[in-house]
C-alpha cells in the first residue's frame, strides 16, 4: 500500500469474498490495536465487528453489496483488540468476478457524531412514541365505536334468528311430525283392515310405498330435529383422549376391518364435548368404509399436532396467535369430485350413489364449529380425501 494510503486520515482496507483481510492501512491498525501480521489472512472483516454489527452487515449490507456492487454510508462498530466499541462510517465497493471477488473499503470514525446522533434518535423516538400512542388511541376509539354499532346490529339479528330457531324446532318436533304420525297410523290401519285378497296388486304396491315413504319422512324429520338441536345437547367441555375416542367410534360402528394407522398422533389430548367429537370420527370412519375404493384395501391415517394459528376467524384485521389441536384424517377411499369443496359439508348433499341421508358430514362440521373450530377438506376423486380438523387447545373457549 502506498505511503499516502497508510497515513491518510481515513481507514482503508480490503477483504476477500470469504471475509479474510488482505490489506489494511496503518491508521486502522492503530485504531484497532492490532499488528498487520496478526490481521492479514487470519481475521475476517466480520470478526473485527461487534456482534450486532456483524449480524446487520451479513443480513443487510452484504446482500446489498452483492446486488449493487457497492454500499455507502454504512454505520458499523468495530470491536478493538482490547474490547472497546469503535464506531465507523464505511463505504464498500465490490471488485472482480464470482470466485475472485474482493471488497475495498474506506471509512472514518464517527464517535462524536454518533453520540450527538444518539441523543437525536432518543428524542425522536420519544416524540414518535407519543405521537404513535396518540394516533393509536384515536384509532382504537373510533374502532371501538364502530364495533359497538356492529355488535348492536348483530345482537339484534341473533335474537331474531334465535326466535325463529325455537319456532322452527317446534314445527319440526310437533307440527310436522304429528301429521306424519297420523299418515303412518291410518296407512297402518288401512293395511290391517283390508285383507290381502280384497286389494289388487297395484293397490298393495301403493300402500307399501305410502308406508315406506311416511316412515322415511318421519325418520328424516327426527334426524333434522336432532341436527338442529345439537347446540342444546352440548355438554360441558371435558378432556378426552384422541386414541380412546377413535377406538370408541370404531367399536360403535362395529366393524373390525376398520384399523386406522394412528402412528401420527403426536398430541392426544382433546378438549370439548367428547361424546360429540367422538361422533365426528364415527362419521368420518364409516364414510371412508362405505365409499372405500373396491380396487384396494382401505387405508386410513389419523395424525394430530399442536399448531399455532390466528384465533380470530370471523373478524378481519384482528390477530391473536394461539395453540390449536390440528387433526388430519386421510383415507384412500374413492374421494369426492374435486370441485365440490365445502359443499361436502352441506345439509342433504349427496355425492355418491347409496349415500345415506347426506347428514353425516354436516354433523361433523356443526360439531367442530360448535367447538369454535373448523374443518377443511382436500379431496381427489378416486385417490382419497383428507380432512383437517382444527380445535382450540383449551377448555374455556
Amino acid at each position: 500500500m502506498k505511503e499516502i494510503a497508510q497515513n491518510t486520515p481515513c481507514y482503508i482496507f480490503s477483504f476477500k469474498a470469504n471475509g479474510l483481510i488482505t490489506e489494511v492501512n496503518d491508521l486502522l491498525l492503530k485504531a484497532l490495536g492490532y499488528q498487520r501480521e496478526e490481521l492479514i489472512s487470519n481475521y475476517r472483516f466480520e470478526d473485527l465487528l461487534t456482534m450486532g454489527s456483524r449480524i446487520f452487515f451479513k443480513t443487510h449490507f452484504l446482500p446489498m453489496l452483492m446486488m449493487q456492487g457497492n454500499v455507502n454510508e454504512m454505520f458499523l462498530s468495530f470491536s478493538t483488540a482490547d474490547g472497546k466499541e469503535f464506531p465507523v462510517l464505511l463505504n464498500l465497493v465490490l471488485k472482480g468476478e464470482e470466485g475472485q471477488r474482493e471488497i475495498h473499503a474506506a471509512g472514518i470514525q464517527i464517535a462524536k457524531r454518533n453520540k450527538f446522533e444518539k441523543s437525536i434518535i432518543e428524542a425522536k423516538d420519544t416524540a414518535e412514541k407519543a405521537l404513535k400512542e396518540n394516533v393509536l388511541l384515536q384509532d382504537l376509539k373510533s374502532r371501538l365505536e364502530r364495533n359497538q354499532d356492529l355488535l348492536e346490529r348483530q345482537l339484534h339479528d341473533l335474537k331474531r334468528i334465535n326466535r325463529e330457531h325455537v319456532e322452527f324446532n317446534k314445527i319440526l318436533a310437533h307440527d310436522l311430525q304429528e301429521p306424519m304420525r297420523k299418515v303412518r297410523l291410518f296407512a297402518g290401519l288401512l293395511e290391517g283392515k283390508t285383507s290381502k285378497e280384497e286389494l289388487n296388486p297395484e293397490m298393495q304396491t301403493y300402500l307399501a310405498k305410502l308406508l315406506g315413504l311416511s316412515e322415511y319422512a318421519h325418520e328424516l324429520i327426527a334426524r333434522l330435529q336432532n341436527f338442529h338441536s345439537l347446540e342444546e345437547r352440548m355438554t360441558n367441555a371435558a378432556v378426552g383422549n384422541l386414541e380412546e375416542m377413535i377406538g370408541a367410534a370404531i367399536s360403535r360402528i362395529g366393524n373390525e376391518d376398520l384399523m386406522p394407522d394412528l402412528g401420527g398422533l403426536k398430541e392426544k389430548r382433546v378438549y370439548g364435548d367428547i361424546k360429540l367429537l367422538t361422533r365426528v370420527f364415527r362419521e368420518l370412519l364409516s364414510n371412508a368404509w362405505q365409499f372405500r375404493n373396491p380396487e384396494r384395501p382401505l387405508e386410513i391415517e389419523i395424525a394430530s399436532e399442536i399448531v399455532t394459528d390466528n384465533y380470530y376467524r370471523s373478524l378481519t384485521g384482528a390477530y391473536r396467535y394461539m395453540d390449536f389441536l390440528q387433526i388430519q384424517f386421510k383415507d384412500n377411499a374413492s374421494g369426492f369430485p374435486s370441485n365440490v369443496n365445502d359443499r361436502i359439508f352441506g345439509l342433504m348433499q349427496k355425492f355418491h350413489e347409496n349415500s345415506g341421508r347426506g347428514l353425516g358430514l354436516a354433523y361433523c362440521k356443526k360439531i367442530v364449529e360448535l367447538h369454535n373450530g373448523r374443518i377443511l377438506v382436500n379431496t381427489k376423486q378416486i385417490q382419497g380425501t383428507q380432512f383437517t380438523i382444527v380445535l382450540p387447545n383449551a377448555l374455556d373457549l
Partner: protein, 269 residues
Amino acid sequence: MDVLKRNNVKVLGEGKQVMMFAHGFGCDQTMWRHVIPAYINDYKIVLFDYVGCGESDLTQYHEERYSSLHGYALDILDICETLDLRDIILIGHSVSSMIGMLASIKRPEYFRSLILVCPSPCYINKPGYHGGFEEKDLEGLMEVMNNNYVGWASFLAPVVMKNNEQPGLTEELERSFCSMDKEITQNFASITFFSDNRDDLKKVRVPCLVLQCSEDDIAPEDVGQYVNDQLEHSVIYYMKATGHCPHMSHPTETIECISRYLETELAIS
C-alpha cells in the same frame, strides 16, 4: 384486499411445477435474481415480498399480525390460496425457511417440498442448544440498525450505478432495498432473532433440503445439522459457499445444489 398487490407477487415462467421463493430478513424478492434464470423455462416461478418489505403495500402492515413468524407464514398461505397453488416447492432463505416450515405445518397439502437455505430455528443460545448468539448481541443489532436508519435519507437519493449488463435493474434494486420502514424492519428483526421454533421442526411432514454454507455465523453448521436431525424427512447438503447468502454470493453452486435435489430426491428432471 388484493393479496397479489399487497405482497407484490410476481408470477413468471411457463412451467407447471410451482417454485416459490421467499426472501430473508433485511431483503426482498430481488435477492433471488441470480437463481431465477436457471428455472424460468421449466417451472412456474412465484416471487413476493413480505408485507413491510420491498415493494409490498405498507398500509397493509398490522402490528399484531406480524408480531409473530406465524403472521409471515399467513402471507405465504394467503398467496397459495389466492393463486390456488398446490404441491409447490418453496425455497426460503434464512428466517423464511422457518416461516415456510410453519406454513407447511398448517397446510401441508400446499407444499411438495421445502428447500431451506441457511435455516435456524433459534438464534439465541439456550441450555443444551448453541444458536450462536446471546441476547445482548441482538440488542447491539437493534442499536446498529437504529444508527443506520439515520443515514438512510441519503440512501434514497438516486445514485446511478455502473452496471453495464442491466443498468435499469440496479437502480430499481437500490430503491426497493431502501424502501423499508424502520419500525417494521426492527419488529421483523426482533421476531426473527428472538423466536424459538425448535419444537416446530418435528411437526414438519413435508420433505426438506437443508442447504448449509461453510463459515456461516448467522446459521452455523451445528444449527443446520440440528435442523436436519429434527426434521422427519430431510437431507442436508454442505456447500463450499461461505457466508449466509449463497444464492447471491455463490449462485452457481446454489443452483447446482437445488437442481441436484430436484433430480435425485424429488425425481424431477
